[in-house]
């Protein structure tokens, strides 16, 4: 027996009121002026009104009426009143995380997802809710969603249950859903308010908790005491076996054509026994040959490197597939963007002078597309251009294939006019003093379209001719050099390269000497810089303040100038270990590949903000997100924020392309540029480790309980409120008191009449 509203017992203090009225009430007697009061004799006892307790029986009855009223308002509840389920409030929290898609055997033996079992158990629970109890439904996935507020009927709650499906997201919103449920029933006055969480009790869902949500739970428990029951129902029917891919990523820098792409896959075994699985890779829609077999001990994970050669440029998706027998199919596949960059084509133009030309009989040399090495040169002169050519792709020069992903073509300046410039990514003018005006115009167009030009001023350069032609603008043509140069200077001792606190992006990694020590570089010969062009900036300086490198934007591209050559007698640059890395970075920088973007791999149903500042998305205000799925694409318009970002609300698992808004809505339309975005289920959902009641008590309070779905019946309280009996008794006592009061009044009146008659 208990009281649903014990605070109403404060009303028992009103019992003192009738006693006060009966005992010590001070009547306000009328004062009557009277001339013959001396005949009344105040000393006589009968003249004095003595307060005394009169009609004790009536007083007791009135007290009993008040007491019954207080008891009725306090809502006495007893299990002896009824054997039916007691009116109670039920808030159902359904776990909709990815792990609830796991298949389990239902009561009829069929294998169904756990979320279906949870719905079935929820419906059974709703059948036991009696008015005035109310029920509500909350879906707990990545976030907590209130599907049905507390209401007196169960029909809306049942309808809300039918809308619940498993998702790809995590169960991080479970604690928040519990807090929301506790707040819904806080203050309710039924005998019991239950927050029933139908979940698979995986511990990862309870590891993400917010202090604010825990505080809400604590406040509700403190306010309601034993009236609030927090019950976690395990619908998983025991431990589950699961092997899943936790993560997959490309190792190293993005591969280039001819490279081997390494996809590193991490696989976790959260079962209780050893397991075997097979891992294979799919790039685009092509399954890659070969697969890897994995053996995992229980509770362990493994990192598997799956390698695949790439022979063509590609912008698509790669998928790591895990072939295994487990209950959760969602985590057996992991998607990631797969981009294979094309080789960087560099055209090295030398002046043809003995100082710069690689050899008097040099021919335009290109790397064979098949990657086969060209025969080595017989000329022993090692010019700066030759050194540059060697260092950009030493593997090719040594007959070992592509190597760095840079192909070089070396020509003399006189052959430049006959070269189609558009197929190159970078043109290097090595010691080229002058070029015909049409060629210069072609070079300007080349740069303005977004390509780059590197001018190396070594010992063979004629500064006067250079300044008159390349470094100066003619007509509408802008100067192609960031600076006018002067004579070559010799430095003894040689100068060093100065690394500032905010170095150029090319030099940024060398702040860590382990990445490369710039301090060992010595330069003995430099070209003097007489003036800089408008918009040019010095990006590299020597120890004496001499500008060593300048660059200048021109249209969509840029022009860079080095005031030193790579000849061996110009310093030790070409002999240093840092020289190749420096040159590769310079080529990456000038071809726009220095900054590599991290592949867009997102977690399902989790919001994300993407940077869309690449030039391909310039001059547009919104982008379109298309799902590339076997089910068919669905497009979503995304406005570009002021900071060149787009906000992605939680997306279900799948492969998406982010592109400019298509001119037509033809599905499968090819886009000139599209960014690949892969969305995968939350890897924490692959961990099948369950939590226990002991682990939950410190988090959710000591009153939390864990039960199996089949045992939930014992948590339904039975009984009822005794207000009907109390009201009946109240009516009887009140009537009795009224009858007695009437009888006493009549007797008193009769006495008065008799006294008056005398």
């Amino acid at each position: 027996m208990s009281l649903l509203y014990p605070l109403m017992l404060v009303g028992a203090s009103s019992l003192v009121i009738p006693v006060v009225i009966h005992l010590i009430a001070r009547h306000r007697f009328p004062v009557q002026d009277f001339p013959s009061t001396w005949l009344l004799r105040s000393d006589e006892r009968t003249n004095v009104f003595a307060p005394k307790l009169v009609d004790a029986g009536q007083l007791l009855l009135r007290l009993l009426v008040l007491a019954l009223l207080v008891l009725a308002m306090a809502r006495l509840f007893g299990s002896w009143v009824s054997s039916e389920p007691a009116p109670r409030n039920v808030v159902l929290v359904i776990d909709c995380s990815a792990s609830m898609n796991m298949l389990a055997s239902g009561p009829d033996g069929r294998r169904v997802p756990l979320v279906d079992l949870a719905r079935k158990t929820a419906r059974e629970l709703l059948e036991t809710v009696q008015p005035p109890g109310q029920c509500a439904v909350i879906a707990a996935g990545e976030e907590a969603r209130l599907l049905c507020s507390l209401g007196p009927t169960t029909a809306p709650a049942v309808a809300a249950l039918d809308t619940i499906t498993g998702t790809d997201g995590s169960g991080h919103g479970l604690i928040r859903a519990i807090a929301l449920g506790c707040e819904l029933v806080r203050g309710r006055r039924e005998i019991c308010s239950q927050v029933v969480v139908l979940t698979d009790l995986r511990s990862s869902a309870f590891e993400v908790r917010n202090a604010y949500d825990l505080r809400r739970i604590e406040l509700a428990q403190r306010a309601m005491g034993d009236a609030l029951q927090l019950l976690l129902v395990d619908v998983s029917r025991g431990a589950s076996d699961n092997i899943g891919i936790v993560r997959a990523s490309l190792r190293g820098r993005p591969p280039r054509v001819g490279d081997d792409a390494h996809v590193v896959v991490r696989v976790a075994n959260s079962t209780t026994k050893p397991a075997k699985a097979s891992l294979r890779l799919t790039v685009g829609n092509e399954r890659q040959p070969g697969s890897k077999s994995i053996s995992l001990d229980p509770g362990t994970d493994a990192v598997v490197d799956v390698t695949t050669p790439v022979n063509r440029s590609l912008r698509s998706f790669a998928q790591a597939h895990l072939t295994t027998r487990d209950a959760l199919p969602n985590d057996d596949i992991f998607r990631l963007p797969f981009e294979v960059a094309d080789v960087q084509r560099v055209l090295i133009v030398h002046s043809g002078s003995p100082a710069s030309s690689p050899s008097p009989a040099s021919q335009p040399r290109e790397a064979a597309p098949s990657g086969k090495a060209a025969p080595p040169e017989g000329d022993a002169t090692l010019t700066g251009a030759a050194i540059l050519r060697y260092v950009l792709n030493p593997g090719r020069e040594l007959g070992r294939g592509y190597g760095t992903g840079i192909t070089t073509t070396t020509i003399g300046a006189e052959a430049l006019s006959a070269q189609p410039l558009s197929k190159y990514d970078l043109i290097v003018l090595y010691d080229v003093s002058s070029l015909p005006e049409p060629v210069l115009g072609d070079l300007e167009s080349f740069v303005r379209e977004g390509k780059s030009l590197l001018i190396v001023c070594s010992g063979g350069l004629n500064p006067i001719r250079f300044n008159r032609t390349i470094a100066s603008g003619v007509g509408k043509r802008k100067p192609l050099s960031p600076a006018e140069i002067g004579n070559e200077q010799v430095f003894d001792p040689p100068i060093r390269i100065v690394l500032t606190a905010n170095p150029h992006p090319v030099l940024a990694p060398f702040k860590d000497p382990l990445q490369g020590d710039l301090s060992v570089i010595r330069l003995a010969r430099l070209r003097e810089v007489r003036s800089t062009a408008e918009g040019a900036s010095v990006v590299l300086r020597g120890s004496g303040g001499q500008p060593l490198g300048l660059e200048m934007p021109l249209g969509h591209g840029r022009v860079a100038l080095l005031t030193f050559g790579f000849e061996l007698d110009h310093g030790n640059l070409a002999r240093s270990r840092i020289f190749p890395v420096l040159m590769w970075r310079m080529v990456d920088y000038l071809t726009g590949q220095l900054r590599t973007r991290v592949p867009d791999v997102l977690t399902a149903l989790r919001p994300a903000v993407l940077d869309v500042s690449e030039p391909a998305f310039a001059f547009v205000e919104e982008l379109e997100l298309t799902r590339v799925d076997p089910l068919g694409p669905t497009a979503l318009r995304l406005p570009i924020q002021k900071e060149k970002t787009v906000l992605l609300e939680g997306l279900p698992s799948g492969q998406y392309l982010l592109h400019k808004v298509a001119a037509s809505s033809v599905p499968g339309q090819l886009f000139s540029y599209a960014r690949c975005i892969a969305v995968n289920p939350d890897p924490c959902e692959s961990d099948m480790k369950q939590t226990s009641e002991e682990e939950l008590r410190p988090v959710l309070g000591s009153r939390v309980g864990v039960a199996k779905a089949e045992d939930i019946g014992r948590f339904v309280p039975r009984g009822g409120e005794a207000w009907r009996w109390i009201v009946l008794l109240l009516a009887i006592v009140y009537g009795l008191e009224g009858i007695i009061a009437w009888a006493l009044s009549a007797r008193r009146e009769k006495r008065r009449s008799a006294g008056g008659a005398e």
Partner: protein, 303 residues
Amino acid sequence: MSAIPGMRFLDARILRSISRIEIKARLLVEGMYASRHRCPFYGYSVEFVDHREYTAGDEPRTIDWKMLARTERYYVKRFEMESNMNVVCLLDASASMGYPRADAGRLSKIEYGCYLAASLAYLAVRQQDSPGLVTFDRDVRDFIPPKQGQRQLYTILGKLEALSAAAETDLCHVLKALSQRLTRRGIVILLSDCYGEPERVTDGVRHMAARGHDVVVFQILDHDEIAFPFQALTSFRDLETGAQVMSDPLVQRRLYLERLDRFVRGVRGGCSQAGADYRLIKTTDPIEVVLRDYLLYRRARAR
């Protein structure tokens, strides 16, 4: 609103009743006074004043036969001495006479006494007697010596108009003092509730009667004092002393009435022993009825 102060105490209705009664009463009174005040000298006053019409009850020897022969109507002779009688009203103006308050819907005892005093003064003036007025509480407050004339009536009325009930009363002391001041024998009419010990009240009356005055005691009581109609528990506050007595009337009523009866009997008996006339008057009794009944009683007793 009368221009002359106190004229309200000469209520037209009462005067009409008194006039009829006066005619009768006057005759009665005159007859009474004439019979009451038999001149110690044989015959009547030597100075003839005037005639007045004969009314039943007048002595035949006073009839002027010559006037009868002349006018064929009966007239009696009036002599100066028989109309020169003092009629002094002693009006109790203590606080107890102020009950009930003006909002009670009936006359207070002092107002009733004022009406009585005014009516008696009017009668006296019409009878060519000398009315006087004494108001008192614990001492004599106002003393208007008896005098003849209409102006005396106005003086008395003016004093009655300005009268208010206040202070305590000491009837015995006042009567004793007045018995010394009223040297000429006449009628002394006491208008009071006579509250006090009956022995002391009758002692004062006895003093007054012993001086040769014809004392008449009109004990004026209010209906509430006589019937004690109160029901609820009440705190009774004395009008003179201010003392309060909380009492349950339903319980106290019987005892109160017994004590009241004992008191009234005591006063009546004392007055009777002192040779004074006594009347218990309720303020709800019509004034003209009271006067008429008493005067008839006096006339009947005088025969």
